[in-house]
Amino acid sequence: MDLQLTEEQTMVVDMVRRFVRREIVPLEDKLDPDTDELPEEDHGRLVAMVKDMGLYGLDIPPDYGGPDIDMVTRTLIAIEMSQHRAGLYAPCYGVFGGAGLAQLFEANDDQKQRYLYPTLRGEKKVFFGLSEPSGGSDPARAIQTRAVRDGQDWVINGQKLWISGADKADYGLLFARTDSDKGRSGITCFIVETDWPGFHVRRIVHTLRSARYATELQFTDLRVPDANILGEVNKGFAIANDRLSRQRIPYAAVCIGVAIKAHELAVEYAKIRHTFGAPLASRQAIQWMLVDNEIDIETSRWLTLVAADKARRGDPFRKEAGLAKLVATEAGGRVVDRCMQIHGGLGVAKDMPFERWFREMRIRRIGEGPNEVQRHIIARDILGMSLR
């Protein structure tokens, strides 16, 4: 067992760290503190730099033209990419390129031509539509949106809630019930286009998150051809579930990145800020907060890297990914909270990034499977019980 980074990993981490500090952080001093977008000219310039670094399209498999980066290195990069104000939900403002949704790599050739390739070229945007007003923790039971066969088409009626980016997307994955008697075996995944009649983005759902707001969707007799079923009829839930396990590792990693940055700012501030004739750093109360930060950061970092290493080796990693998500999101919240406290009034002002991290970090305990659901999954694994 080798806990040292390889030479290549050290090089990549250094390169991304320099990029974030030299290119992203200075831009944020001028942008609105809540933004999740860069001005177009900056975006284009930074994308070109990332391409030169050989890191564009990080999550695109090498067979599709992406760089060949293993899961551990990918996790290390995610920890670096998120070390700035918008880093939790908009790491580096997307200049490393997106891969769309992992499920689309399982699409058939025709669907890949129509949806996956344009997405990889940056021409199309996609949303992921699973959660509904009736619940997101247990979507297999909660989904009430129904799809009914009509000749060569399916007709979809229903509602989705919390769907990020649907108002800007060209298409999305929509999970609907196709067999009401079969529970989790009665869900099908459809690829739907957002300009088809019957597709409505009814409103923005305002939350604590500044970046990538969520939306509420309504479908009224939305007609979808058979050719737009992803995978097979009634087998959509496995597609949703697969994404959720995989996503938990990068989801944890960006929380660690933010925690590291917050901690770094607090360490610096504690050294220079004086009260009662001595620097904050000389007070045990402050030192212990910094030590607790260190414990939280290191615990989450190693748990997340272990999960990534298991995934890289092709070993089962559901429990480890759940642990990483659970620990990193809770630890991230505690670290940001302590750093805010150390900064006093400045900690809660929009001048500093803490207030945005504080708000957005809170969502991380709910998104991508609430932490209680992670505990539920982990308990089942420990007890050798299958998920009901």
Binding site: T35, D167, R202, T207, S210, Y213, K350
Partner: protein, 114 residues
């Protein structure tokens, strides 16, 4: 569910009324004398004097016949601003308010409010 469109009464747009606007962050709308919205604006986290400061800038250089205004204090100023612009567009066949030349319409999302 909160209202998507702003429906408060308009206030006459002059130095006296703007002086009484709070310095908080949020969104605002300007309308012409006929009550047609000509601009949807935002007082974001970098604005020095919040809504009051943004409206004072408009008073200094009035445009598009702005004669009335209304405000909404809102800490989710960014998403609320985008929502108001998208709702306006949905209600006006894809157009944006006359003075919103600062907005790149291709970067806005599409809403179809009920």
């Amino acid at each position: 569910m909160p209202a998507i469109r702003m429906s408060k009464r308009w206030t006459p747009f002059n130095p006296e009324t703007v002086k009484r606007v709070p310095g908080q962050l949020g969104v605002y709308q300007l309308a012409n004398a006929a009550g047609e919205i000509v601009y949807v604006g935002v007082a974001g986290g970098r604005s020095l004097f919040g809504l009051r400061g943004e409206l004072q800038k408009w008073l200094a250089a009035p445009q598009a016949g702005a004669a009335q205004f209304r405000i909404e204090v809102n800490m989710s100023y960014r998403t609320r601003h985008l929502e108001l612009l998208m709702a306006y567009r949905a209600d006006h066949e894809g157009r944006l308010p006359a003075a919103n030349t600062d907005i790149d319409a291709s970067r806005l999302g599409r809403l179809s409010p009920a």
